[in-house]
Point group: C2
Chain length 481, copies 2
């Protein structure tokens, strides 16, 4: 609830944000935390997940709180505690304790904020719409915004003053301070334990849900919520697989995309391992191609490098590997240019990582794409979520993959041209029938010098992965099933 | 996604509901499933949990679906699949497969429903507001309802036609059919495994989160979501404790209120066990008082018995036990009448259980309270969520407890009178300092004859509980740590 890092972290961030707002001519900003949303009835909500913009500036997870940020003053407004709160929820920190932990000038009851806005008007005060629709309705009413009442407004339709706040938040949040990176590292620690436990518990006969539950247990025991819906599947070709009822068989590869978050800061890691603990030769050949792309892309994470070029280089390494295996035919550069590789690697090579697993994706492409840039119309490249020059302090994922997606390979409009001109050999691909999907995803910190792979301790080399799968019964503390 | 029970189950329910609506003069109803809600950005939603009313009548978990229920026809309307769905989410069942699995007359694209409403008008068509605000905005717009745009409308402010639907749903859902009870039993099976695993893993030095994660793993591996936010705490006196970072010590009692749901059908179970595997004498004395109240209340779950009397009888048994221990003083009947027991047992003895863990609580007290009845103004009794005569097919929880809540015991307005007139001996209570909170909760099916305790296999007798805690290292498949 209260931050576990010193108040100076949040004071420094607020000062920097306020200075940017000041330069943009804004009279300050109201950052709303948002509240818990109902699951099946109001008293049974989903866990509280406050707005990442609020978390970044305040550090505390406080339902329905609002930060009023001005150049010389940071005040937090909180709903008055219900007299029965102590009975049902136990003692909660008082306003003074919150002010101290977050380094705030004052903490006051929320109605005083509404009164102040009614008295002085909201002119010149910026805000950014939160996800929770109840809170968004409050923002709309208090600040007289013309947002649609049912969905999150498109960012590019916001008032100019709010866009200035959005741009200030993007500028500040693109590159993380040491405190943010420390939190990502803690999330990664738990995520490493989750992947090790998942590898060790894997054996034929279990279901995907067994492995997923074992992995998520390692996050939960460390009080790290899942940063996103876990994917643990023998059908890695279903990119957002949500079903986890399949039974593991010895010839399967298991793809696990699981990451925890610490104080809101995310990790995002995918590993792919053989259920039997041994890759077949065809699995190993394609795994090595993906691994080469992963490593080549990671090596490019340096200041000034355009992330789109990282994506294209990873695609080129994949294409080279696929040509060597006879699955693609032709000159790798030309294949990538025409998008032939995207028949087997349809998504982007990664994205920003921070307080959101796709950091600041609530702001559309305003965070991921540099001003003046927009999505490519080309299939595959158009799914790339990040097209900026990398800077020290940015954390990005690097997650190339190879997939045999029937819906894509059988799509004559998309795939047909590559088949007919001989670029894609579907018969040769059929020899790799025991591979449905492979993805290898790391979290990488850009520094002034070499990239730092925050997830380097999670087994990735084929032998290390197989060894971790083989640990099953030997490791104390690991579930046998 | 599709029901795992035969379509006849849902056809039967729809026929019964439609007949009631017909008698109420309604021209049919639109039951909206609702969609997933955003966590920190739209593409990172909470898991889909469709409306329980929709689940009851259709059986399938389909985002943004709408059932149009009429006396002679049941049609389901679904968003048209996105062409890229197969790429990202894999193959999904086609409309014919859904119609067949749910026993529907037709499945059609959602825009056709909107067109039909625009053409024919929504006159005489009832609906019930869902939790998901996006969908509620759609209901409001399509059916021209005057609900507030930011919060769930209060049920008693709904249009008469919608209230008739609400009452029909309540009448049908109060008593479960065999299919519903079968699903609750499956949820209970997983919940039993969770509690056994939690007991077995417990030992001093672990944190609450370790036990919670181990329990939830047993649910997750069976593909049973948590029916509600788990409570696993050494501070049982915090009734809705959400923190789980405390370290377990040998003198502690651990209270675990954890239950899974199967196809939406909930279980809700609390057990309290000693971390050391042995109750102290004071812990054992209070545990026995709670257990006696639990058993006495369960024995009353019979047709025609007013649930409020079950609550009052459980309170009486608690009061008797507390008098015997010298904590309360006086005549037990009089103590309960004046609410003295509520200083140690402030909540209700239980609630309806069904597709919601507090079944139909989205309808306020319209489900829990019989027409003409309302909440008591008395502290404690006023928290009772159910005041109806029990009927065969109802499932209720029975969950008495004893708690030393400082915020209540030190509250002079509430507790002072009982201290001053000698009813409550706080010095005597202080002898039981190693008890902070005990609750024992079962799920009980009312039948024409004896009650059926669906959770009977989950250890509850003190010796059985201690034996289950002691199992830790002996049991294969149980996590050691």
């Amino acid at each position: 609830m209260l931050p576990i890092q010193p108040p100076s972290v949040f004071q420094r961030r607020r000062r920097a944000l306020a200075a940017r707002l000041d330069r943009a001519g804004s009279h300050g900003a109201l950052l709303f935390a948002g509240g818990a949303t109902a699951r099946n009835y109001p008293a049974n909500p989903w866990p509280l997940r406050v707005s990442s913009h609020f978390l970044w500036t305040v550090g505390a997870s406080l339902a329905d709180a609002v930060l009023w940020l001005r150049r010389d003053r940071s005040e937090l407004f909180l709903p008055a505690p219900d007299p029965d709160d102590a009975l049902w929820h136990g003692a909660s920190p008082d306003f003074a304790a919150i002010a101290s932990a977050c380094g705030l000038d004052d903490v006051r009851p929320l109605p005083e904020l509404h009164d102040a806005i009614l008295a002085e008007g909201a002119h010149g005060i910026a805000t950014v719409p939160v996800m929770d629709p109840h809170t968004r309705a409050r923002q709309r009413a208090w600040l007289d915004r013309r947002w649609p009442d049912d969905h999150t407004p498109r960012i590019d339709t916001l008032d100019a003053i709010d866009l200035a706040l959005v741009d200030a938040l993007v500028s500040e949040r693109l590159c993380h301070d040491e405190a943010g990176i420390a939190m990502i590292r803690r999330a990664v620690e738990g995520t490493r334990a989750a992947h090790l436990a998942g590898m060790a518990v894997t054996r034929a006969g279990l279901r995907e849900a067994d492995v997923r539950a074992t992995m998520e247990r390692e996050l939960a025991r460390r009080q790290l919520p899942c940063a996103y819906g876990s994917i643990v599947t023998v059908h890695g070709e279903i990119l957002h697989a949500r079903e986890d009822g399949n039974t593991l068989a010895d010839g399967d590869l298991l793809l696990a995309d699981v990451g925890g978050e610490c104080q809101g800061w995310a990790s995002d890691v995918t590993r792919t391992w053989p259920v039997s603990g041994r890759f077949s030769s065809t699995q190993r050949e394609l795994y090595d191609v993906v691994l080469a792309a992963n490593e080549a892309a990671i090596a490019m994470v340096r200041p000034g490098v355009r992330y789109r070029d990282v994506h294209l280089h990873a695609s080129l390494v994949l294409a080279r590997g696929l040509v060597a295996l006879g699955i693609l035919r032709g000159e790798p550069e030309g294949l990538v240019e025409r998008g032939a590789h995207a028949m087997l690697f349809p998504h982007g090579v990664g994205h920003l990582l921070g307080l959101d697993v796709h950091d600041m994706e609530d702001l559309g492409d305003r965070a991921g794409y540099a001003p003046g840039r927009s999505r490519s119309p080309q299939f595959g490249l158009g799914y790339l979520r990040l097209d900026r020059e990398l800077q020290p302090g940015m954390v990005v994922t690097i997650e190339p993959g190879l997939y045999r997606v029937a819906a894509l390979l059988d799509d004559d409009a998309r795939c047909g041209p590559f088949v007919r001109d001989g670029s894609l050999d579907r018969e040769r691909l059929a020899h790799f029938a025991d591979v449905r999907g492979i993805r290898i995803e790391d979290d990488v910190l850009c520094t002034p010098t070499d990239p730092v792979v925050l997830t380097a301790d999670i087994p990735k080399a084929p032998d290390a992965v197989c060894a971790a799968v083989g640990l099953a019964s030997a490791s104390p503390g690991i579930v046998i099933g």
